[in-house]
Amino acid sequence: MLCNICKAREARIFYTEIINGEKKEQYLCEECAARNTSLRLKAPFGGEPFSLGGLLSGLFEGEQERAHGLEKSSEAVSAGAQPGTACPECGMTYEEFREHGQFGCAACYRNFGKLLTRNMKNIQGSDVHVGKWPKNAGERTEQPAEPAPELSETERIALQLDQAVEREEYELAASLRDRLRELKREKEKEREQEREREKEKGEVSR
């Protein structure tokens, strides 16, 4: 069967999208699926398997909303947005990392740590080193030197969403996505209320 979008290449992906309970089904080729859907394609077997540009950064997509572990550059803080977050040590930005899938220095591992932990587990099945230990790296610790930060509810659901998409359980994925949106709305509402309270306080003190 030919792809429903380009009508030229062989369709290899059956894509189901559920928006507000409405189901839309399409047969797509890999190129059109990558371009037109949020589906995260695995690197094709035998393709450049370690090109993070194609694999890890794909998993990082959508992280802007849920990245809390990143150091923020002053511009990013003032903009209140995740794009623009940077490693204070080498200046590596979140966008740069997403584009190339490479870190700029050892400190990036800490500064991008929360994102890394979650995604490394997804890809490699673990995020804790148990192999060789250099002699000058101190005593081998029983527990990981710095345990990964606890995941917030938003992050936990985002992780489940990734896994549901991976397993092609789209109905579950859709409900998780809706839950994420709900959480986001709640958070925005809380922030809004906070701002109003601040405003009121300001007015009272004046």
């Binding site: 094709p44 077997f45 035998g46 393709g47 398997p49 370690f50 993070l52 694999l55 890890l56 080498c90 200046g91 590596m92 190339h100 899938g101 490479q102 870190f103 700029g104 220095c105 050892a106 990036c108 591992y109 890394l116 490394m120 890809i123 490699q124 099945g125 673990s126 995020d127 804790v128 080193h129 148990v130 192999g131 060789k132 230990w133 250099p134 002699k135 000058n136 790296a137 610790t141 990981p144 030197a145 710095e146 345990p147 990964a148």
Partner: protein
């Protein structure tokens, strides 16, 4: 001194075992963020370790600036899998530290600051790892970027943890001819390993050569990675042997014909292309392994497939050549090789 691939006769299925370790130094930015001065300092301090390696490894070590080599030299080293395409293209200061038997090659300032490659003939990942580990012990004095949780910190987080890629180079003609490679590749992928054609893309190959390697680098020890690879290899070798028996039982005449045709072309043809040369040599190896072609000595597929590549042919000839000139020279070279191992 003999090169690693000359140390013993090439095995019938497992050509070589390779371990690569990715390491970075804590005091420097990673490759993508390094300034020119840092690159120069890094290459110098790693090259300064060469005498120490000689003591520990019991043989001579040589080093050079990769970025200052001629394009032909770089292409030749790339064909020998000593340097990577990535380092060959880098304009910044880069270096290669190479052992006399070429079993250890250390790339400096490629994707990571240090990439140690250790190759051993046959199915001997344990040997390749033991040697890489010794070299790594010397290098760690330079102060690696290491973290108690993420292990060796690599430029790409997909290599973090052990930073190790271990692999076997295998010759699988029967599994290729019976169309089983893709299925095998899908199967090993489930366990976090992969099979790729060499040279080629995906599972395509011209000489029935495939590399079996690990994907996962964290959450397991180096020995666990090696043990798993060895177990998978054992199954692949069994399957290849069974399929060779099967092929011999159903189409021995056909294979024998193919083998002797290949011998005829290699022995007498006047112009041979790179890909053709590789395929013909692979068929000759299969013929000898199956006992169909009583060649007096092994042709050493790995070595010869590299010697007939464009850059190495031009180095051998001592001048640059067009593709047509190369095909003629390759023909001459292979004719000579065949006459040297007469039936």
């Amino acid at each position: 001194m003999k090169k690693w691939y000359e140390k013993r006769e090439e095995e019938s299925i497992v050509i070589s075992s390779r371990v690569r370790l990715a390491r970075n130094l804590a005091e420097y930015h990673f490759a993508g963020k390094m300034k020119e001065k840092e690159c120069a300092m890094l290459t110098q301090i790693v090259r300064n370790q060469a005498p120490l390696l000689e003591g520990r490894d019991g043989m001579k070590y040589y080093s050079c600036s990769v970025n200052r080599l001629s394009e032909l030299e770089k292409a030749s080293l790339k064909e020998w899998y000593i340097i990577s395409g990535q380092i060959a293209k880098k304009p910044q200061e880069t270096a290669l530290v190479l052992s006399e038997d070429e079993g250890i090659s250390i790339l400096v300032n490629e994707e990571d600051h240090i990439r140690i490659q250790s190759v051993a003939p046959g199915a001997d990942l344990e040997g390749a790892w033991a040697r890489a580990n010794r070299i790594d012990d010397c290098m760690e004095e330079l102060g690696y970027a290491f973290d108690g949780r993420y292990g060796y910190l690599t430029t790409s987080p997909l290599n973090a943890g052990t930073g190790m890629r271990a692999s076997y180079l295998t010759f699988l003609p029967a599994l290729t001819m019976t169309g089983k490679i893709q299925k095998l590749a899908d199967e090993v992928a489930k366990y976090g390993f992969m099979i790729r054609g060499i040279p080629g893309e995906g599972t395509k190959t011209q000489g029935y050569l495939y590399r079996l390697s690990n994907r996962k680098t964290i959450g397991c020890t180096e020995n666990e990675i090696i043990d798993s690879l060895r177990q998978i290899l054992r199954q692949i070798v069994d399957q290849e042997n069974q399929h060779r028996e099967y092929l011999c039982s159903v189409s021995a005449d056909e294979i024998e014909d193919k083998v002797y045709r290949s011998y005829g072309v290699l022995r007498y043809a006047k112009r041979i292309g790179t890909e053709d040369g590789l395929t013909l040599l692979a068929q000759l190896k299969l013929g000898r392994d199956l006992g169909m072609l009583p060649l007096k000595k092994s042709i050493g597929l790995y070595e010869q497939m590299i010697r007939i590549q464009p850059a190495n042919l031009q180095k051998l000839c001592g001048k640059s050549m067009t593709a047509a000139e190369r095909a003629a020279y390759r023909g001459e070279y292979l004719n000579r090789l065949m006459s040297g191992c007469e039936i």
